[in-house]
């Protein structure tokens, strides 16, 4: 896509993910704001020492929430819900012991952790997933309040907080879903329009070829007829015949003749890479992308596909096996090859002892890149992280880089 319009699926994923992020932020704000209320309310009741355990539980939930934001994986969210359930239940029970009347007049104080539990729409990349997480959070929150009513022998009173929050969450995700549906219908399909543009360009190219051919043959021949002597020599007659043959064959219009268009503004590969990286980021792997230079390099489509797939496999390895939460992706451009270096500071491994069934490394990275004429180099030591350098050949250079790379890197 050359238009600087973000692909709609990428934009939708980022917007939905950002809504999930604001859920984390509200959850954290709710927990923080509960602390002064706990302190003052217990102090007014003369039970200040009873405040420390509930405050500790609020802090535990905050730390758990921070962990979820850091890891952002399904198991981390599940762990947060379990920890949150226990912390919320214990928090309410502890406060009810210190403030028995709170169940009647101060439910707001009691249900703060339960409200934070509802705001667990994490890792939601689609509105449907967001709705699922919100409902799950609400169920866990309600279960916590129910456990309090059973264990504390008090009436079941969840309060309005969790309900209001889940209603707002559902309204937000449903609105987002509706917006995305309308968007798919109303926003111009840029890729379709580009394909049409390419077809028109192909038509123009064919017209140019025809014009050139007719000019070089028919028009010149007619000029010969106008200016030649009354009797044509054998050479002139042969030329006329040859030109007519060229026109009747019209090979330049063959269906097999392709028009190759290269646009230096093309961002389709960049979009594919960013789409890939965005997916890993929502799964809990922070990916920092760096690159140098301002040259423009043309790749073969098949090589580009292998490149993106191998990069995905390398990042998958970091996510699944390294234990690291950050990966560095550095793109280095040279006239003959583009190299991507994927580095992590995880547990590392001994490349000599990689099992043959480690398809991620051998089949998904090495075989892919080598099949398109590229090279792969792996550096890793147990305990010292891993670096994978994948180089792929460049078909041509559309614009030279202004300064030598070694100067920049140095």
């Amino acid at each position: 896509m050359r238009v600087r319009v973000l692909p709609r699926d990428v934009a939708s994923g980022i917007i939905t993910g950002s809504v999930a992020s604001l859920g984390w932020a509200i959850g954290a704000a709710t927990l923080v704001l509960a602390i002064p209320v706990v302190l003052e309310t217990t102090a007014r009741a003369g039970r200040l020492p009873a405040a420390w355990l509930p405050i500790g539980l609020l802090l535990l939930m905050l730390i758990s929430l921070g962990f979820v934001v850091w890891r952002a994986r399904v198991w981390a969210v599940a762990a947060y819900l379990v920890v949150g359930f226990v912390a919320s239940t214990t928090y309410e029970l502890t406060l009810l012991v210190a403030l028995p009347g709170a169940i009647d007049t101060q439910i707001y104080l009691l249900n703060r952790p339960a409200v934070a539990l509802v705001l667990v729409g994490l890792a939601a990349r689609s509105p449907v997933a967001g709705i699922g997480w919100s409902v799950l959070g609400f169920v866990v929150s309600t279960a916590s309040t129910f456990a309090v009513s059973v264990l504390g022998q008090v009436p079941f009173r969840p309060g309005y907080g969790p309900i209001v929050v889940v209603v707002i969450s559902l309204a937000a995700y449903l609105t987002l879903w509706g917006v995305q549906v309308v968007q798919r219908r109303r926003i111009p399909n840029i890729e379709e329009l580009e394909a049409e543009n390419d077809r028109l360009a192909h038509g123009e190219d064919l017209a140019r070829r025809t014009t050139a051919a007719v000019h070089d043959t028919l028009l010149n021949d007619l000029s010969i007829v106008m200016n030649a002597p009354d009797v044509l020599d054998a050479r002139a007659r042969a030329r006329l015949r040859q030109d007519l043959e060229t026109l009747s064959g019209a090979e330049w219009l063959d269906a097999s003749s392709q028009l190759t268009m290269v646009d230096d503004q093309d961002g389709s590969l960049r979009n594919d890479i960013m789409r890939l990286i965005s997916g890993f980021q929502w799964r809990g792997l922070s990916v920092h992308v760096t690159g140098s230079g301002d040259g423009i390099y043309r790749l073969d489509p098949a090589i580009a596909t292998a490149f993106v797939d191998a990069l995905g496999a390398a990042l998958e390895n970091v996510l699944r096996h390294s234990g690291a939460t950050v990966a560095e992706v550095e793109l280095v451009y040279a006239p003959e090859a583009v190299t991507v270096m994927v580095t992590d500071e995880g547990v590392g491994f001994d490349p000599a002892k990689v099992a043959h069934d480690r398809l991620g490394l051998r089949a998904s990275i090495e075989a892919r890149i080598e099949a398109v004429g590229g090279t792969v180099q792996i550096w890793s030591t147990p305990g010292s992280g891993t670096s994978i350098a994948m180089s792929i050949p460049v078909r041509s250079i559309l614009r030279e880089h202004d300064a030598p790379h070694h100067q920049e890197l140095g």
């Binding site: 992020s21 932020a25 704000a29 000019h215 007829v225 268009m261």
Partner: protein, 370 residues
């Protein structure tokens, strides 16, 4: 990067999403009304119950104002729009506070801070994180203090600190949500949109239909000349009549070829429609693929607009001294303004990403192709 993430709004970065996403403030207005109505029983306990619906209308109105201020083709929402929104919503909170002054209410269920929070949140896509923080932070402090001052003396269940925190909590959450949303979204989108790709892929196109059309054109062009030249080649002799006919055929053929080589991609649209193209300098050929795609999609959308007079669509391209191309498009569309804008805005917004100085009024559009 961090600075850019805080100073650019989600709408600036991705206007197409917020063209359809602008219903969000309306949904928030609906939530304000819903929650306000849910608290109707408490209205009646206040000395001035009629102030509560006024407050609800003000807070919901603030959300509606955001909706109106962010209509497609309007200027970017700035300080003015943001301040107007928080002033109206803040007035709603103050009116509600005055209404509840002297009444013993459950502040934790008070609708007004919640309404103010939603009004703040409705600004999130349209203001940068920093502006949101400055405007929202200031207004949150002012509104909380005023509401606390008006309502707190009548609160018995909570202490003063708790009352302050409980009043502030929804507002703080709304502000935190808006700032987080804006910052996270912009910081994730910016690298994708701003970084120019250094790797490009060639696209190979074949179109059998276009090739067939071209074969027909070739057959038409050569219909008279080919048999004539074949006859000359066969006979090997040229008569004065042959010379005259050759001259005539050559003139026609040259005219046809010149006409064809002067055609641009814009003329190919004009051929299938009644678009009038004025492009004496063949500037259309200089436009980049992205600009062609965006402009062509807009022209198609205008031509497909119900109520559009397709004969009135005119596009003129002129070179400027700095080498850029000035493009003017005029059209005559009978659709009401709202429907016209909603129909054409996505195409306009797409075009805006590919050209400079784009302006649009009721019947014309102009931009510069760098």
């Amino acid at each position: 990067m961090a600075r850019a993430s805080a100073t650019v709004s989600a709408q600036q970065l991705d206007p197409l999403s917020w063209f359809t996403g602008r219903v969000v403030p309306l949904v928030f207005a609906g939530l304000v009304v819903l929650y306000g109505a849910f608290r109707i029983p408490t209205w009646l306990t206040s000395p001035l119950p009629w102030l509560q619906p006024v407050g609800v209308v003000l807070c919901a109105g603030a959300c509606v104002l955001v909706y109106l201020l962010t209509r497609p083709l309007r200027p970017q929402l700035g300080w003015g729009g943001g301040i107007a929104t928080v002033l109206i919503a803040g007035a709603g909170v103050v009116v509600s506070s005055i209404g509840y002054s002297g009444a013993d209410i459950s502040i934790e269920l008070w609708w007004a801070p919640f309404g103010f929070a939603l009004a703040l949140a409705s600004l999130a896509p349209y203001l940068s994180a920093r502006r949101m923080l400055e405007l929202g932070g200031t207004s949150a402090v002012v509104v909380t203090v005023v509401a606390f001052w008006l309502v707190e003396p009548d609160i018995t269940v909570w202490g003063p600190l708790s009352s302050m925190v409980i009043i502030a909590a929804p507002i703080v959450c709304g502000l935190v949500a808006a700032v987080t949303f804006s910052y996270v979204l912009v910081s994730r989108m910016t690298p994708i949109i701003e970084q120019r790709s250094q790797m490009v892929l060639p696209r190979e196109t074949t179109d059998a239909e276009a090739e067939q059309v071209e074969r027909l054109r070739l057959a038409r062009l050569s219909a008279r000349a080919v048999p004539f030249l074949a006859g000359i080649a066969e006979a090997g002799r040229i008569t004065p009549a042959d010379r005259a006919l050759a001259g005539q055929l050559a003139r026609r053929l040259r005219d046809d070829l010149v006409t064809q080589s002067n055609l641009t991609w814009l003329d190919s649209i004009a051929k299938d429609s009644r678009l009038v193209v004025i492009d004496h300098e063949h500037r259309a050929a200089r436009m980049r693929p992205a600009q062609r795609v965006a402009l062509r999609s807009l022209l198609r959308a205008v031509l497909d607009t119900p109520g559009a007079d397709s004969t009135s669509l005119l596009i003129e391209l002129r070179g400027r001294p700095d080498g850029a191309t000035a493009v003017a498009v005029s059209m005559d569309i009978e659709l009401p303004e709202g429907r016209r804008i909603m129909h054409l805005a996505p195409y306009y917004l797409t075009l805006r990403t590919a050209v400079d100085d784009l302006t649009w009024d009721a019947t014309s559009l102009s931009f510069t192709s760098p």
